[in-house]
């Protein structure tokens, strides 16, 4: 599949050459963000215990129960570091790697990109519905340059990007052995069907009635998002 094929498909769907560029942009934005997925924060080279920064433990301000440590150090020699109860194994070398700092909540990830693409699709769907000219009954308004038409194409393109990103990042989250009632399986089926309906609506517009397919597609998307929200 090359760019020419995609352009031909887009033209068949009723999207002019300028729209396939929009579609490609959506895909690039969706895919490029995966490079940042699950990037952990923090410096892995930092020592795990704050006490590792202190060479002389007696320089620390000790709580009353730590007086025993001072006595021990006077009797048995210097204590290398002041350790918390669970750090003795780290000192013994059993946990030689450093701990992960931070909460682990990745600021940008494939999952977040998928989420925002989905929400963007719903927003565009709402705008497309709101800009529908006279319920599609007035033939004079049936043109492929109006706001409604362009919003419809943008919605379908964003829906397709959402599905593509979902398949990439959530590939292991849906298993048909779990049954059709599983929320993730329902999400995939509804979002996939909704996107197809939207693409169909765009492909037959403006020559033929497409409100049913467009609305069904949007409704399926809304339900799919709510089920896994």
């Amino acid at each position: 599949v090359n760019g020419e094929d995609v352009r031909k498909v887009m033209e068949k769907m009723g999207c002019g050459s300028r729209y396939w560029g929009h579609f490609a942009s959506f895909c690039i934005v969706a895919l490029s963000s995966f490079a940042y997925a699950d990037e952990p924060a923090g410096n892995p080279d930092l020592p795990s215990a704050a006490s590792a920064y202190v060479r002389d433990p007696r320089a620390l301000k000790l709580s009353p129960q730590d007086s025993q440590l001072i006595m021990d150090s006077q009797l048995y020699g210097p204590i290398p570091y002041l350790l918390a109860g669970n750090e003795d194994q780290t000192l013994a070398g059993e946990g030689s790697e450093t701990e992960a700092p931070g909460s682990g909540d990745a600021p940008v990830s494939g999952r977040k990109v998928h989420k925002y693409l989905g929400l963007g699709t719903l927003a565009l769907f709402g705008l497309t519905a709101l800009t529908a000219p006279d319920g599609g009954r007035n033939n004079t308004s049936r043109q492929n340059t109006g706001t409604h038409h362009q919003l419809g194409i943008a919605t379908a393109a964003m829906a397709a990007s959402t599905v593509a990103s979902g398949l990439l990042v959530h590939w292991d989250d849906f298993h048909f052995e779990d049954g059709y009632a599983d929320p993730d399986n329902l999400h995939v089926m509804l979002a996939g069907a909704g996107t197809l309906a939207m693409l169909y609506a765009v492909s037959v517009a403006p020559a033929h009635s497409h409100s049913g397919a467009g609305i069904a597609g949007g409704a399926a998307m809304v339900v799919a998002v709510k089920l896994t929200w």
Binding site: A37, D38, P40, G42, P44, S48, Q89, T90, E94, G95, E97, T98, E99, A100, P101, G102, S103, G104, D105, A106, S109, R111, K112, A129, A132, D134, G135, D172, H175, D178, G179, A181, D182, P183, D184, L186, L190, S211, G212, I215, A216, G218, A219, A220, V222, V223, K226, L227, T228, W229
Partner: protein
């Protein structure tokens, strides 16, 4: 235009209850429908006594992580005497409160997504009483090498959810919130 809006509304009204049928009606359906807060994981523990009694020995697992029949099998006098190899007996009043809270907030009584998944997966057949043996939970953790769990001093067992799931206490188990101790680049 008006007709279009009505069609959208009608589609949503019909589709949502149909799609949400696995979630059972103990919780208010309308409250869930109109709630825009994320309910992707499980409902956090709200009962102080449950949190205190269970949390004394281990992470206070949210009731939404198991179906009611599993909580029923776990939280009785006989089972608690041999609670995964330890005696965890409770006095009868405490046991009743803890049992009732767990059963009343079990997976099949919650609209939270993870609970619905667990509920659907355990609706038939035998139900494991170990959360880590639930098909979904086992599947989600199968790719994590043993050295990161059993061989990791900061974790030691899959049972310690909160060691890696940094927002487990809030009922959030999203992979984006995972940080495995000693393995900052675990996802690579």
């Amino acid at each position: 235009m008006m007709r279009t809006k009505l069609k959208i509304l009608a589609g949503l009204v019909v589709a949502l209850p149909v799609a949400a049928t696995p979630a059972v009606a103990e919780e208010d359906f309308m409250a869930w429908l109109l709630d825009f807060h994320r309910t992707k994981g499980v409902a956090p523990v709200t009962d102080e006594r449950y949190k205190e009694e269970c949390g004394e020995c281990h992470f206070a697992y949210q009731p939404g992580l198991l179906p009611a029949k599993a909580w029923d099998a776990l939280l009785n006098e006989q089972s608690l005497r041999r609670h995964f190899g330890a005696n965890a007996e409770l006095d009868s009043d405490t046991l009743r409160d803890v049992h009732d809270y767990a059963v009343n907030n079990a997976a099949e009584k919650s609209y939270y997504k993870l609970s619905r998944k667990i509920s659907v997966a355990t609706s038939e057949g035998q139900v494991p009483v170990r959360i880590t043996e639930l098909r979904y939970i086992a599947r989600e953790h199968r790719h994590i090498p043993e050295r990161m769990i059993k061989g990791n001093n900061g974790v030691k067992s899959l049972s310690f959810c909160d060691k890696c799931h940094t927002e487990a206490e809030k009922g959030i188990y999203d992979p984006d919130t995972v940080s495995i101790p000693n393995y900052p680049h675990w996802g690579d």
